[in-house]
């Protein structure tokens, strides 16, 4: 059996919530040894080891308990730093320095240590201490505003009269997307820093701003503004900069069932008409070529929906894709869990947890042919690896460990 790709890399993990744990989970998936530093005092909510959330974002990691507010904790951390390759944290910027664990302090005991600090706004700048969730970042970045329909939507309740003020109501994303995005940049930069360390013998401090990570997803729209002064506006499901018609999200048979369709070539249009069995309207002048179709989008969409509404989204996708046309079911999470493509590619895996029992989790989408990800198992229980780490790795005696426990350091 091949060795795992990141075997031998040890990561000291101070992360919590989503963005940070998502990053260290990815590193663990490929064989890194991730030691998560926890404490009885903080292991609640998202950091409660026996919840589904914790199990999802912390699979395959080790857990130790260390009471960071105890003055003796710092020395233990420094001993761990000495035997680690990477330290990752996603606190607000003052937390690690307050513990006496700034990059400079870590580098004193391990000169080539790689430290990654990920925070909402980065380690510097006037907003560095801002508190943020994924949704906060999304609002700051512009995507909450930009993800909406290009027309006014009837307000959903009397409390919200944005429609009357003449504004487009922002809708935004229905989930904390900015967190995984920041986590991916963390993994990417850590791997690059390891590459550099192995070549040059130098560690470094990586400073990631979640805000900037997310702004990177809007790069082209930003450039259109800085270069042309063009101001991006909500596009709904319109094709935006790509030339396509028909294009969009169409209602299908069933309750809240939808399918997306995207045509960009004349060849696809011909195939599309064939799938629909050449309805009379398809031969009309107003749909006879691309620019004509583009001019009559609302009428065209209405006619297409008359066809899609008679079919399930799975039928629409199957019929169109077999004819060589881009189409896809708008899948909810239940659809995803039963999606034949995802199942065939083993996108889901079973994890057995000592308390939660058997559960399902999404696999990594990074599929390597020779050294694929190997999920080691469930998330750890709180402090389950104290013995391995404190006695095994740090060589503490049983008495030492007992004393630290009695004094509330290992806690």
């Amino acid at each position: 059996m091949n060795k795992e790709a990141l075997q031998g890399i040890r990561i000291l993990d101070f992360t919590w919530l989503l963005a940070g744990p998502y990053a260290t989970r990815t590193l663990a998936d490929f064989g890194a040894e991730v030691i998560k530093v926890q404490s009885e005092k903080t292991a609640s909510g998202a950091e409660d080891n026996t919840t589904g959330y914790f199990n999802t974002w912390n699979r395959g990691k080790l857990s130790i308990t260390l009471n960071m507010s105890h003055p003796q904790a710092r020395n233990i951390v420094l001993k761990l730093v000495k035997i680690s390759d990477v330290v990752i944290e996603n606190f607000t910027p003052r937390v690690m320095p307050n513990w006496g664990l700034s990059y400079n302090k870590l580098a004193e005991v391990k000169p080539d240590i790689i430290m990654l600090s990920m925070s909402a706004m980065g380690q510097t700048g006037p907003w560095r201490d801002f508190a943020a969730l994924g949704h906060t970042i999304q609002a700051f970045s512009g995507i909450t505003y930009l993800t909406s329909f290009p027309y006014k939507i009837a307000p959903p309740s009397p409390g919200n009269d944005g429609g009357q003020t003449g504004q487009i109501l922002p809708l935004g994303l229905g989930y904390a997307y900015a967190d995984p995005v920041a986590g991916l940049f963390a993994v990417f930069t850590v791997l690059a820093a390891l590459e550099y360390r192995d070549k040059m013998g130098q560690g470094q401090h990586i400073d990631i701003s979640e805000y900037e990570a997310f702004c990177s997803s809007l790069g082209v729209a930003i450039l259109d503004y800085t270069v042309n002064d063009n101001i991006a506006s909500p596009q709904g499901n319109n094709p935006g900069r790509s030339q396509a018609a028909p294009y969009g999200c169409y209602r299908c048979q069933g309750d809240d069932r939808w399918c997306v369709i995207a045509l960009s070539t004349e060849e696809e249009w011909q195939a599309f008409c064939q799938v629909l069995r050449y309805p009379a309207w398809s031969k009309e002048e107003r749909f006879s070529n691309f620019s004509a179709r583009k001019r009559h989008v609302p009428e065209l969409d209405k006619l297409i929906e008359e066809w899609t509404i008679k079919h399930t989204p799975e039928e629409v996708m199957g019929l169109l894709q077999e004819a060589g046309i881009s189409a896809g079911v708008v899948e909810n999470v239940k659809d995803l869990a039963n999606d034949p493509q995802l199942i065939a590619r083993k996108f889901f895996l079973q994890i057995e947890h000592p308390v939660l029992g058997k559960s399902v989790s999404d696999n990594t989408p990074i599929k390597l042919s020779r050294t694929p990800a190997r999920i080691r198992g469930a998330a750890p229980l709180l402090g389950q690896d104290n013995d391995y780490v404190y006695r095994g790795l740090l060589g503490m005696s049983e008495e030492e460990v007992s004393r630290y426990i009695a004094e509330g350091v290992i806690y």
Binding site: S209, G219, K367
Partner: protein
């Protein structure tokens, strides 16, 4: 930054993964973008410089191909494939987005390429991946967004599903692929062997759904579109004097009621029954109504700074210019100047002069960090940079012109003569 200096990459991607090689180029890898003779079709993707379509003026091409080298090569003819094999022999990584069957036909599949170079790392990014019943299916951003589960949960309960702004599936698939490449590179140091990385847009989107899978697999909950507010009562978007504010309202309840009370606007929300988050969820419309009365008396800036002062994760719902002009981004030098000398020469020159004379106000904008500078017959634009600070200074070069580095690569790297080059050009190979 030159963290990945020495790493050589051939870029055969279309818009689905063009950002992947940019990520690596940003860290100092040498990326050679291979375009078909006459230029890649993605050069026709808007928006364009000064809104005028031209293959050297696509801003999406500019952004996604900055810091890369560019050559042209026809991979569909034998002579082109011959040259490509020589390039494969000298490269570490190839990134491609061809349909699996097409790649096989051109002998660009992993089996064929690994015979030339067993250290090669090949990253393939397609709509549904290299295996499974949908592997031949076509895709694009909206199809990936739909089949990856993103669209269903964006939008409001009374609207159709909504695709998030931009091309998010290409963005995250590129990130996953870039990570896969660095993981494979690390492994190659041990084994001396490369491998094939198979990335599906659908899976890339699904893998960034946050808690959606967890809620389903543990609680059986199917996440729905919820638009302006979270049905669990933890946050909402509310109108202010000048736009919208993102507010969290669950754990912050007491602080929030105090803030309203300070302005005499808390009314019945002070009653004990509102302490119960369950009760608040059941009467969420009333909560929203009361909060809206308050938020509408204020501007976004007043409210979000007030919230942040109390360590609450509040934010203004910004437009794109507001984001670009935010003081935090300029203080951290997120935007980097990129020079476009090619626009100041030949046909572009008149445009530049006209712009220079006609819009002198731009110079003022440049000095107050607006992002654009015009002067000395040189155009310099501000590009979004990288979201990290690492060892070394970050620099960005403008995207290559069509075939700009043909001579450098074909003569300098492969040792072809200038006669060879002329012949290849005549035969439309390059």
């Amino acid at each position: 930054m030159n963290l990945l200096e020495g790493l050589q990459i051939l870029d055969l991607t279309d818009e689905k993964a063009v950002f992947c090689s940019k990520l690596l180029a940003d860290l100092g890898a040498e990326v050679i973008k291979i375009e078909r003779p006459g230029g890649d079709s993605s050069r026709w993707l808007g928006p364009f410089w000064k809104n005028s379509p031209h293959p050297e003026r696509s801003l999406s091409f500019w952004y996604n191909n900055s810091s890369k080298l560019g050559i042209t090569l026809n991979l569909e003819v034998k002579e082109g494939q011959e040259i490509f094999r020589q390039l494969v022999n000298k490269t570490d990584v190839i990134i491609e987005t061809f349909p699996p069957e097409y790649a096989k036909k051109l002998k660009l599949d992993y089996q064929s390429l690994v015979e030339i170079n067993q250290r090669l790392i090949l990253a393939s990014i397609t709509g549904f991946g290299q295996t499974g019943p949908y592997r031949q299916y076509k895709s694009c951003d909206i199809v990936a967004s739909a089949t990856g589960g993103q669209m269903y949960i964006c939008g409001a309960p009374d609207t159709p599903p909504l695709k998030p702004y931009g091309e998010q599936s290409y963005f995250v698939a590129s990130l996953f692929a870039a990570i896969g490449i660095l993981v494979a590179l690390r492994e190659r140091h041990q084994s001396g062997k490369g491998q094939h990385i198979d990335i599906s847009l659908q899976e890339a989107v699904a893998a960034t759904l946050g808690h959606v899978f967890t809620r389903y697999f543990y609680d059986g909950a199917v996440s729905q579109r919820q638009g302006y507010y979270d049905r669990d009562g933890s946050f909402c978007l509310l109108p202010c004097q000048d736009g919208y504010i993102f507010l969290t309202i669950d754990r912050e309840w007491d602080i929030l009621v105090n803030l309203l009370d300070n302005e005499g606007m808390a009314e019945d929300l002070k009653d004990n029954r509102w302490q119960d988050s369950q009760y608040r969820r059941q009467h969420f419309d009333h909560v929203v109504e009361m909060l809206t009365r308050w938020t509408k008396r204020h501007t976004r800036a007043q409210l979000f700074l007030l919230g942040q002062l109390m360590r609450l994760p509040w934010a203004p719902v910004n437009s794109l210019p507001e984001m670009v002009n935010s003081i935090q981004l300029s203080e951290r030098n997120y935007f980097v100047p990129v020079e476009h000398p090619e626009l100041a020469s030949s046909e572009g020159q008149l445009d530049v002069v006209a712009q220079f004379i006609g819009q002198l106000c731009l110079i003022n904008q440049a000095t107050n960090g607006e992002g654009r500078e015009v002067g000395d017959k040189l155009l310099r634009y501000h590009y979004p940079g990288v979201p990290y600070v690492m060892t070394g200074k970050y620099m960005m070069r403008r995207a290559p012109l069509i075939g700009e580095h043909n001579t450098q690569i074909y003569q300098g790297r492969l040792g072809l003569s200038s006669e060879d080059l002329k012949r290849l050009k005549a035969n439309k190979v390059i």
